[in-house]
Amino acid sequence: MRLSTWHVTWRNLGRNRRRTLLAVAAIALGQTLVVAVNGLMSGSFDQMLATVTGPLVGHVRIQHPEWEKERAADLTIDHLPEVLAALETLPDTESVSPRIYAAVLAAHGDPSNQPADADMAMIVGVDAPAETAPGGILEGVPADCLPGVRGAVVGQVLANRLGLEPGQTVAVIGQDADEFPNSDLFEVRAIVHSKVDVVNRLGVVLELESAQRFLALEDQAHEIVVHGADAREAESLAASIRKLGPLAGARVLPWREAMPELASIIDMKGWWDLVFVAILFAAAAAGIANTMMMSTFERTHEFGMLLALGTRPTRVVRLIVLEALLLGLMGVAVGSVLGTAVVLVTGHTGIDYGALGGVQGVGDVAFFGVNISYVVYPKLEARYILLGVMAVTVTSVVAATWPALLAARLEPAKAMRL
Amino acid sequence: MNETTLVEAKDVTKVYRTGQVAVHALRGVTLEIHDGDFAAIVGPSGSGKTTLLNLVGALDSVTSGRLTVLGEDMTALGRRGKADLRLRSLGFVFQAYNLIPVLTARENVEFVLELQGVGRERESRAGQVLRELGLEDLTDRRPPEMSGGQQQRVAVARAVASRPRLVLADEPTANLDGENAEVLLRMMRSLNAEQGLTFVLSTHDPRVVAHARRVVTLVDGRVARDELKEPSRVDDE
């Protein structure tokens, strides 16, 4: 290909500004939407992933091997401080939350209430200051309202049922790890509307030490929830954790194994997103191909003239293909920039698709233990841009090639008469 | 302005752009066309013949100078006004691609009449025009079924069907052989003589010049010569 072919192509595009603009616009639109929608799907997938692996599940769960099945209070992870210290040494861990769970009955601490008003509840022993971080069980609870030594934070629904308010006491009745009955009173420091549904419905959240004391446990916990940087790296994080000395014999589960149904849901969403991305790709490709084809077919007269002037048919084809290539590249360049801009801006502000779909966020409803919001934050992923670039450019070129080949076989006079 | 002056041009210039290039098609044209003229505008290629015709025919806008056509100041007339002028008072014949290929001869004539708002009498009027010009054999034929000469004659029929005051023809004989050219010119001459239609033709065909009573020569976008002459006789061979 001589340099002059590029030159001619470029000037040709400049001469027919409207046509060029239209083709570039169509291609750019396709690429913009491909990038933007991919960003949307990516953000929504990540959000779902974060939701299901949220405060309750985490990325990796560490438990006594039998605890999941039996839920007996004495099946614990021992030597907690060493275990926690070992976990902190791993570079990938972002947060480490030890937890203690026990099924109990809870009642209003005021002795005038009937014992029959006791309700099923659950002690959740946590490292309270750590759980106030974003994504924790106690997210949003101010520091002076944390459980502390003799206090508890009660879930909103439970508090409603028992008629509890901050400052009052809650009575907790249960069994300790040795199966001796135990009861105690705690001061309600705060009522929490937690993101974690089970905490809302049944939770009496205590400081880890308080829970350990209630259950006659030492440096033990039932579960350690570990968050890494990326939920998708949970398997390798689990592998690293298993190698740690103090964790020998513990059951270390990445979330996919811990909650296979969540894995199914996530996978389902993955396939779902794929279907729609494929549909969008098809729509974009159809639009671009249609435009390029129609545009090229309409230029038969022009090609006839070129042929009449003595241009060889292969050169005519090359010119057309080259034009399509240039248009494709320009289009994806513009589209990529626009698409990226859209993703970055909406990634910041979020898209309230609930409002667009005519739905209000239902505040008190939880799904997978976390309250639902109908806002999505698109996320940019470079590989989708590249994918789009390739797909869109190829579509543009292929769509122009067929008419080009047909044009090249024309008799010049006939072509010019059309 | 003289009642019989249909077109008055004073220092008219036209510059247009194709891509990067600015073309100075007319560089100051001054002339008048009078009622009943049968004028030929001649000159080499690029002299601005077609451009001048386009300007007079309200197909294009003047760059500078004054141009008055049928009493209308072309610089002041908007696109709507120009379209109206074209529709009601002007007839245009191109060098080629005059007729709409998918319509018959009669429908081609009807097309313009319809644009003018003529109602149900369209069909009969169109048929009549074709008959008057000896073209009734072509009534239901489509352009691909006609020869070049026949097409041009139907084009003239269409141009005059709307009873314009001025007919502009741009190189009407360029694609025709001797005999067809002659027939076409005679048709125009007789319309000029019998109905008083004013014709302005741009051409570099000597046969056209032969029939003209007035010859305006353009060179490089300016009027080089403007003279009256004796036209060839219509009953000549």
Partner: protein, 411 residues
């Protein structure tokens, strides 16, 4: 605006440039078909989730005591559950009706305890209407009518209590007049595949439930309809026939979590489909425009003959309508069979998911059956006409701003 001759011109012109017209129409058709597929899929997604919720126990409708939606108190009972059940079965469009009663209680075996919801059911109806029962692996047997002193529990629950078939459990419930206990023998163990579903599953027969709690009768009747789209209408009809003190609510009220999820999913999907349709419309429009751009010379000739810009646009609008209609027809021909296949055979994700999937008390059958119906026609027409007419808009702007000579000069 323009007359018959111009219309002849437009129509015959479309036939003269046959390849252009055919490509146009096919282009429109393909775009329309893609849009239809997307819309049909969207409907299918919603249907799938509603099917999951309703067939996992919620039912499309539920007859409940009037106070239940507020308090969610499972000790409430229907005013006359047999009468209500008869009314339900008489309603046209009802596939199944399953009465139930629920109570929160504690199961104990040895020194192990577990909190459960003890559900009293009508075995035959429950098997038929509750996917959780029908599709799970069963050890032993399910309940039969007339059973007494027996229960069927979930596998994870059995594990937690370390029990097996034929073991006797002690059940303690809050009954009509205080705490009551009784013994139940395990005759069946259900493995639903979901730990959450398993751990709270404990079924007894309805009469047994009445004996255990001291509260006779059904506390709810789950109703499965033939067509989920008739939910609201069926609800109103049924509500009229209920004894006072009983309400008929939809699955959305019964399971707000799923309802919210369906709404959210639908909103999200609608958003995506909207984008797809925008892409389709703009894609078609740009292809149409590409053609219009190349016809500038033609428009120049028309305008030289005296046609005004507005009239040229009218011409293009006629062509646009014709192309749009033909394109819609092609779209329906291409998309129709595909959508029909999607609606009848559906797309089965269960291979990829490893069977059925449990979400929040619901067992999902991951097959998408697309929506199919007369709406497809309106959809096709809407999309194609929107696109082709939009493409005719640009020439309006262009035609008003160009001198015919300029258009004629176009090479």
């Amino acid at each position: 605006m323009i007359g018959p001759v111009s219309v002849k011109y437009a129509v015959r012109g479309m036939f003269r440039h046959l390849r252009r017209t055919i490509l146009s129409v096919i282009g429109v058709g393909i775009g329309v078909a893609i849009g239809q597929f997307a819309a049909s899929w969207m409907g299918g997604a919603t249907e799938m989730q509603i099917r999951a919720a309703s067939e996992s126990g919620a039912g499309h409708l539920r007859v409940v005591p009037a106070a239940w939606p507020e308090t969610r108190e499972n000790s409430l009972r229907l005013t006359d559950w047999r009468k209500a059940l008869r009314a339900v079965k008489r309603l046209p469009g009802v596939r199944l009706a399953a009465p139930r009663a629920r109570a929160t209680g504690l199961l104990a075996f040895g020194n192990r305890t577990a909190g459960v919801e003890v559900t009293g059911v009508e075995p035959a109806a429950e098997r038929a209407s509750n996917r959780i029962v029908a599709r799970s692996r069963l050890q032993g047997r399910y309940l039969s009518e007339g059973d007494a002193g027996v229960t069927v529990v979930g596998a994870a629950l059995a594990e937690r209590l370390d029990t097996d078939l034929d073991d006797d459990l002690m059940v303690t419930l809050s009954g009509k007049d205080g705490i009551r206990s009784a013994m139940l023998r395990i005759v069946g163990i259900l493995s639903t595949g979901s730990r959450d579903l398993d751990t709270s599953l404990c079924h007894v027969t309805l009469p047994e439930h009445g004996r255990l709690t001291g509260r006779e009768g059904g506390g709810e009747i789950a109703v499965l309809l033939e067509d989920y789209r008739r939910v609201e209408r069926a609800r109103r009809t049924l509500a009229d026939q209920m004894p006072p003190g009983d309400l008929v609510v939809t699955w959305e009220v019964v399971n707000p979590a799923i309802a919210a999820n369906v709404k959210g999913d639908t909103a999200f999907t609608r958003f995506i489909v909207f984008i797809v349709v925008v892409m389709v419309v703009l894609g078609i429009a740009s292809a149409q425009l590409a053609v219009v751009l190349e016809r500038r010379r033609e428009f120049g000739v028309l305008m030289a003959l005296g046609m005004r810009g507005r009239q040229v646009v009218s011409l293009l609008l006629i062509e646009a309508v014709l192309t749009g209609l033909a394109g819609a027809a092609v779209g329906l021909m291409i998309g129709g069979p595909v959508t029909w296949l999607l609606a009848t055979k559906g797309v089965d994700f269960s291979e990829l998911m490893g069977g059925e999937v449990a979400i929040e008390n619901v067992l999902l059958d991951p097959v998408v059956y697309g929506s199919f119906g007369p709406w497809l026609i309106w959809y096709a027409l809407g999309v194609s006409l929107a696109a082709t007419l939009a493409a005719a808009v640009y020439p309006a702007w262009f035609a008003v701003r160009t001198d015919p000579a300029e258009a004629l000069r176009t090479v």
